[in-house]
């Protein structure tokens, strides 16, 4: 990778026109995706993303220039372009870089990039076959084995010179079931910031396949969910997408810094039900959303966002932090060098509470039990969010009754976190990809089972 001395020269060039901060982000990433359809390897997408970006700040202005030429000459040209775009000023800054060895709390035993296609295909096949053989109602299976070997180097005028290698592995199985009432799908997609050993230690491929098929077959027999306002019990794991959408995005400096979030200027205020404590923690070992340091070279950390209902902190990157006059919380992330980094989530969850799952279900006279959630989205300006319920059941008289399909939950973030009035004990995290202005990045969502006292359920 790029030497410390080269980085120093590139940064020197970048600040020539008066920048008060400059940064180099260089990467070389191997992406590998094997897709299996109907039990056969259908295609493989395999490639290298490689390049660098030079970013400079002057006050509240940022300029970024990208290049795929990472030779010293290419980087110096890139830095020159950034400097010229910043303006006419002149400054000299003494740049001293120190190599930072932040360490790696995410050990990898078998790097997937060192393993051939065959071994990955075997795991993928195990998952897909487990789904296909689940029952007669399973009419189609698709699966993907994904692995990423992401090498990054960051140098900046705060003196950081640091490199990291982020390895992620994921299996995703989707099953399609049909019992004559219209096709339904189910999916399971465990992922970790670890290597091939994840399938021994953490996530068994056959279990993932069976789980996808189980969801699809339950939903294939289900009728449509009725619509309207009702109480909803949302189970743990991917259920945490409710916090991610309803609240998480609105706590990112990306919108808070511009006063565009429903939670701008509310630090120290009671914004949620007192049962809600929410945390963003990028340090969880081997977790899908973890990083040793963020994409601006700031070590990752555990940020308590909401404590017993009180807003404690936002997720902040260096650039937006300037506007907020607050330091970075180690939350800057980007998909690749081609995206401008901004504050994003890592592993974000509602912490365990004190209610039992049985009490939560028993407390609902008529409502919805959302066993598995799908993806969602939010508009941080209005706080309006929506997400899909992939596996839902009606609750009647405090008991879980028949499955229902096609439900979605919609609402406003600042309302819904006040309405989370019961929080269970069994915290679990689940993996997702989160899309925003700095691209698509891996994040964990999570929670124990929660009750939302009233929310609009979209159905028919």
């Amino acid at each position: 990778m790029i030497s410390l001395e080269t980085c120093r020269r590139v940064l020197e060039t970048a600040v020539k026109t008066g920048a008060d901060y400059a940064e180099i982000y260089a990467e070389n990433t191997q992406n590998h995706v094997i897709t299996m359809i109907s039990g056969k390897v259908d295609n493989i997408n395999d490639g290298v993303t490689a390049g660098a970006a030079v970013r400079v700040f002057k006050g509240l202005r940022s300029v970024m220039s990208t290049t795929i030429d990472t030779s010293e000459k290419g980087l110096l040209q890139c830095a020159m372009r950034a400097a010229e775009a910043l303006g006419e000023g002149h400054a000299e800054m003494e740049i001293v870089l120190h190599e930072r060895l932040y360490g790696d709390v995410h050990p990898v035993l078998v790097a997937p990039s060192s393993v051939g296609n065959r071994e990955k295909i075997d795991i993928l096949r195990t998952g897909c076959e487990a789904a296909a053989s689940y029952g007669k109602c399973i009419v189609q299976t698709t699966g993907r084995f994904l692995d990423v070997d992401h090498r990054i180097l960051i140098a900046n005028t705060d003196g950081v010179y640091a490199s990291d290698r982020q390895i992620r592995t994921r299996l995703a199985v989707t099953a399609v079931a049909d019992t004559g009432k219209g096709r339904q799908t189910g999916s399971a997609s465990p992922g970790r910031r670890m290597g091939m050993e994840m399938f021994d230690a953490e996530a068994d491929a056959a279990s993932a396949g069976r789980e996808a098929a189980r969801q699809a077959s339950v939903m294939a027999d289900a009728g449509y969910c009725p619509g309207g306002m009702m109480p909803v019990a949302i189970d743990n794991g991917f259920g945490g997408v409710i916090f991610h959408e309803a609240c998480g995005h609105s706590l990112e400096a990306t919108s808070v810094a511009y006063g565009l979030s429903q939670f701008s200027g509310k630090l120290g205020e009671m914004i949620a039900n007192e049962k809600v404590t929410a945390i963003d923690d990028g340090t969880l070992p081997n977790n899908w959303g973890s990083v040793n340091f963020d994409d601006e070279g700031t070590p990752s950390r555990r940020n308590v966002l909401i404590e017993n209902g009180v807003l404690k902190n936002y997720m902040i990157d260096k650039f937006n932090g300037r506007r907020m006059e607050m330091p970075s919380t180690g939350s800057a992330r980007r998909e690749s060098f081609m995206y401008v980094p901004t504050s994003r989530m890592t592993n974000t969850y509602i912490d365990a509470g004190t209610d039992s799952n049985d009490d939560i279900i028993a407390s609902i006279d008529y409502g919805l039990y959302a066993a598995q959630m799908g993806g969602g989205s939010v508009n941080p300006v209005t706080g309006e969010f929506n997400f899909a319920v992939n596996e839902g059941y009606l609750i009647r008289g405090g008991k879980i009754c028949e499955p229902v399909r096609g439900a979605s939950l919609v609402g406003k973030g600042s309302d819904v976190i006040r309405n989370i009035d019961m929080v269970g004990r069994d915290l679990r995290l689940a993996q997702g990809m989160c899309g925003s202005s700095s691209g698509s990045i891996p994040t964990n969502v999570g929670q124990p089972m929660i009750r939302v006292s009233s929310i609009t359920v979209g159905g028919r």
Binding site: D42, F387, G406
Partner: protein, 448 residues
């Protein structure tokens, strides 16, 4: 980088590996963007990015690998990886490369004068000023971004296909943020044109007024109602379910349209066209991602499914010609099948007639969460929406945070009127979607 040099390295590496059938796809993007907030430029980006993808055929199986490293060593690695990937493909399908010698339609490529950084800066600052003056509810939270980009694609294969494409365009994106003191709302508008040809005042006014029109929105009722979709909302619906028109998805049991070619699948008012040369879209192109000629076609004609969309592989398997719909999102994405600019053919009546015909119902002006609330395999959807009540045949009070639910293919059968106000809301990619306003007889609405 000099593509011809890399091409030679690839030819040598392929030769050494004994690979006879191969294709090289090269794309670059040279783009400058400027953002402004609070009356000042706050972000500027520029860069040249791009990469190459090498695909090869081994016993009818396709292997591919892509890279942004454009060295001789990388060329060798690219060929080795693609061969290794091809060797483990198990699909029964046979893949092909374009044979060459085809005729391509003449067309007018987008060839705008690229705006300079200074022009882009002036544009966003003026855009912000216009937003500020556009409506009394506008806040300081508005932002503007503008860009100028040159995109190029080269496609060559071992059958002698050698194609080039170039597109240059400028755009302005305005986000209006409004407040009534109780709540905020926002709306976006995009304009693709050379800066001097943009009417900034009109664009800002549209964004601000649309954002302000939703302030104070109430809850929608729950029940079944006639629904009018705005052009933006119906374009989103069409885009979300467009994968159902892929013959590849159909062959894999992932589309409800499998086996339905020639059948009535929609109301006779519905004609859906796929046009690679749609004038609203600057990304016009006369060849697809496999190098087959691209052409305009009706996918649904007066309710009848005329054709699915094909590439070389699915067309040969079905014993027919490709429709030239191979598509790739970039050098780093696999070849898939998708439309160019797909739109619902406009009718002849104004939108007001649809409102009148609906009588009492819901006007949906935007749908959200499409990646979550819509199932492309089944056509089922349950989507967060916002819009207006329709009462006495007119747009009434704004409503939001309700869902509409149903099945897209049932909905197509229940279209009872199509207006004349066609739009292509976000024509910034090779796959874009357009529509006029559409009246649907009945849809499930969940609100209060």
């Amino acid at each position: 980088m000099d593509f011809s040099v890399f091409k030679k390295w690839i030819a040598d590496a392929a030769d050494a590996a004994g690979v006879r059938d191969y294709e090289l796809y090269y794309s670059t993007e040279d783009e400058t963007t400027v953002n402004a907030f609070g009356g000042e430029i706050n972000e500027f980006t520029s860069g040249l990015t791009g990469g190459v993808c090498f695909r090869c055929l081994l016993d009818g199986h396709m292997g591919l690998a892509y890279t942004q490293e454009l060295s001789e060593a990388a060329a060798g690695a690219l060929v080795r990886r693609a061969v290794d990937n091809a060797s483990v493909i198990e699909s029964n399908e046979t893949e092909y490369f374009s044979e060459g010698g085809a005729e391509y339609e003449d067309y007018e490529p987008a060839d705008m004068q690229l705006a300079s950084p200074e022009e882009l800066s002036a544009l966003v600052l003026q855009g912000l000023r216009e937003l500020k003056d556009a409506h009394s509810a506008v806040t300081g939270g508005c932002s503007a971004s503008a860009g100028a980009g040159l995109r190029e694609i080269c496609l060559v294969n071992s059958n002698g296909v050698d194609l080039k494409w170039k597109c240059s365009s400028d755009y302005l994106f305005l986000e209006a943020v409004v407040s009534d003191g109780n709540e905020d709302n926002n709306d976006y508008k995009l304009k693709i044109a050379e800066p001097e040809k943009m009417d900034l005042q009109a664009l800002a006014k549209e964004a601000a007024e649309d954002a302000a029109s939703m302030l104070g929105a109430g809850m929608a009722p729950t029940g079944s109602f006639p629904v009018v979709f705005s052009p933006e909302a119906f374009s989103s619906m069409l885009g979300t379910f467009s994968s159902s028109f892929s013959s590849d998805q159909a062959a894999k049991g992932l589309s409800v349209l499998a086996g339905k070619e020639g059948e009535m699948i929609a109301s006779s008012l519905v004609t859906v066209v796929d046009d690679p040369f749609c004038p609203e879209n600057p990304m016009r192109i006369n060849f697809d991602a496999e190098g087959s000629p691209a052409y305009k076609k009706s996918v649904i004609l007066e309710g009848r499914l005329e054709t699915l969309l094909y590439n070389l592989k699915t067309a040969r398997a079905a014993g027919r010609q490709t429709t030239g719909n191979a598509h790739r999102a970039g050098y780093d994405a696999p070849v898939a099948i998708s439309p160019f600019t797909m739109y619902l053919q406009p009718g002849t009546c104004p939108e007001e007639d649809l409102l009148k015909a609906a009588g009492e119902g819901i006007y949906v002006n935007s749908v959200g969460g499409l990646h979550a609330g819509a199932n492309q395999i089944t056509g089922d959807f349950s989507l967060m929406s916002s819009g207006f009540l329709i009462s006495d045949g007119k747009k009434g009070a704004p409503v939001k945070s309700f869902t509409i639910a149903g099945n897209f293919f049932d909905l197509l059968k229940n279209v009872t009127a199509v207006a004349d106000n066609m739009k292509v809301p976000m024509p910034m990619s090779v796959s874009s979607f357009g529509s006029p306003s559409v009246l649907v007889r009945e849809l499930a609405v969940s609100g209060k």
